[in-house]
Amino acid sequence: MPEPILEVDGLVKHYPLTQGVLFKKQIGAVKAVDGVDFALGRGETLGIVGESGCGKSTVAKMLVHLERPTAGVIRYKGEDVTKLSGRALKAVRRNIQMVFQDPYTSLNPRMTVGDIIGEPYEIHPEVAPKGDRRRRVQELLDVVGLNPEYINRYPHQFSGGQRQRIGIARGLALRPEVIVADEPVSALDVSVQAQVINLLAGLQKEFDLSYVFIAHDLSIVRHISDRVGVMYLGRIVEIGTDEQIYDHPTHPYTQALLSAVPVPDPEAREHRERIILAGDVPSPTNIPSGCRFRTRCFKARERCAQEVPLLAVPEAFRGAAGPAVHPSACHFAEEKQVVPPETDPGGDRFLPPADGPGRSA
């Protein structure tokens, strides 16, 4: 991994649950994020996958300082940003920008595109002097593939894919080094998703950006990511390069997740093994003891209820080499290939996990 630009250590976000009006008494907490560690290298893309409620969006919000962590450290170029305030914090926030999921609600309908993309300059005027802003905004429109003459239009005059481009342009305005993209394509139509993914990949090369790319669509995450972390109920349960995670998963949750994704190849129907998990994700207010996945795990044994598995290379693999050796938070981690390897381009033409966007088309 190249030198880390962003490091996250023991990140925790608990939302207190209170009872009473005047004398609020804390009766519990929603443990949205419950101890997350990772590092993002310069110029790298770290994908984070997981199902709804696993805390991936809360991690994103903490990275851009929209939420304050309950505990833990976020280091940007070695400096802990959770302790910063005032001017120093403002300078850091400039460098970490966010692209949101829903281009329909994340753009103010009463502002023109020019005002939306130029708004970051109001807060950070040092980036672009006033007289220069309009030109900068037009440049940005051009960069994201929109006609610079559209600067005076309103969001409703654009399609979903175009709106997402506007959101990306806004994220780029301050020339950040890190972009946190939270489900940036899941609200878009299938034929438009590829356009936006290509745009993001191109911008990364052009501006030397580092991405934290959060999504539930496993095939898109694989396409764009150098490394992938799998989250379950507030924790990363497995992390590694895309090959390690997709072709050599060792955590049972990752295996179940990968096997559940429908493969766009009708020939694969007969000869693939599916791991169907029982039940639903437990409530984050009441996390199971020991391993948090044990209530749905097909491998759970007694030890899993007592001992919390740590995110590290599992004992069984220590001293070994190969792609199965990567951090996996499971006591009984073992390699299992759940998606058939790609063979000749006729039969198994498409590779694993492809899944549509998380919403309707």
């Binding site: 299938v190 396409h223 997740l257 766009p264 020939e267 498409f350 088309a361």
Partner: protein, 324 residues
């Protein structure tokens, strides 16, 4: 044939003009068969289904032509009460968003039982017993206790299973599932699709699965109808279409799925945007986005050419596309 939709046309009158949502859709489903209707937003896939179910909002919607033959009878000529007797009892629908399709102030038992009270004239007590039976059938644990609970007390996957139970209640011959798993997480999606497929086999129902997800389609469908701008652009058995699409739009959709050997490269992307339904381009509606478009595509609407006995493509150049 269980259901045959023939040359259906639906339009919506809006303030800004007439939106032509469905422009001559023809498809058929037999009993025990799964037809996947694949399309993006605005392709008319849901509107067609709503017309079949008879739940289209009219006005602003209007069926301007075509036939919907169900067991040989044209549903569009039926009287309101005759239509009502078909809906729910002989064909049922599963919606995308179970939370907003269920009534929040009625217990799930009441909502499931209502089917039996209204259509079968059962007493409330018998209907309640039937509701418990159905919840068992869709594998909701502790059905006897949970039958009294309200929709918000169930998880997303369970709510969708309750929707399935409701659709199955009267053992209809046809089920229309409109994006039934889009709102669900993948591991739950797998549970729900498995259940649906199992029940379909058991009751030998016809199933119309409306979706935009090429993965789900490959998993469960027998046949696929691909829709674009209110038309069927390609219709084929599932294996054929994934092997060699006969329409450039289908090809574009398949090619834009990320593949391993393309990692780090540009993804194939269909250029442009789906058309505005108020201003559908003349000729082939896909021509402004099509990499194969020729002059004829800009002027002549392609009919659904017969590619083989079981396969059709609405492309003037389907041969070239098939062998590309």
């Amino acid at each position: 044939m269980l259901l045959e939709v023939r040359d259906l046309h639906v339009e919506f009158r809006t303030r800004d003009g007439i939106a032509k949502a469905v422009n001559g859709v023809t498809y058929a489903v037999d009993e025990g068969e799964t037809l996947a209707v694949l399309g993006e937003s605005g392709s008319g896939k849901s509107v067609t289904a709503q017309a079949v179910m008879g739940i289209l909002d009219m006005p602003p919607g209007r069926i301007t032509g075509g036939e919907i033959l169900f067991k040989g009878r044209d549903l569009l000529t039926l009287k309101k009460d005759e239509r009502r007797a078909v809906r729910g009892a002989e064909m049922a629908m599963i919606f995308q968003d179970a939370l907003s399709s269920l009534n929040p102030v009625l217990s799930v038992g009441d909502q499931l039982g209502e089917m039996f009270v209204v259509h079968r004239g059962m007493s409330r007590k018998d209907a309640r017993a039937k509701a418990v039976e159905l919840m068992d059938r869709v594998r909701i644990p502790a059905a006897r206790e949970r039958v009294k609970q309200y929709p918000h007390q169930f998880s997303g996957g369970m709510r969708q299973r309750i929707m399935i139970a409701m659709a199955l209640a009267l053992e209809p011959a046809l089920i229309i599932a409109d994006e039934p798993t889009t709102a669900l997480d993948v591991t739950v999606q797998a549970q729900v699709m498995d259940l649906l497929a199992e029940l379909q086999r058991e009751y030998r129902m016809g199933l119309i699965l409306i979706t935009h997800d090429l993965g789900v389609v490959a998993d469960v469908a027998d046949r696929i109808a691909v829709m674009y701008a209110g038309r069927i652009v390609e219709s084929a058995p599932v294996h054929d279409i994934y092997k060699a699409p006969a329409h450039p739009y289908t090809r574009g959709l398949l090619d834009s799925i990320p593949r391993l050997d393309q990692k780090g490269q540009e993804l194939y992307a269909i250029k442009g945007l789906p058309p505005n339904l108020m201003r559908i381009p003349p000729g082939c509606p896909f021509h402004p986005r099509c990499p194969m478009a020729q002059d004829v595509c800009r002027t002549d609407v392609p009919p659904l050419y017969e590619v083989s006995g079981t396969r059709g493509s609405a492309c003037h150049f389907w041969r070239e596309c098939l062998h590309a």
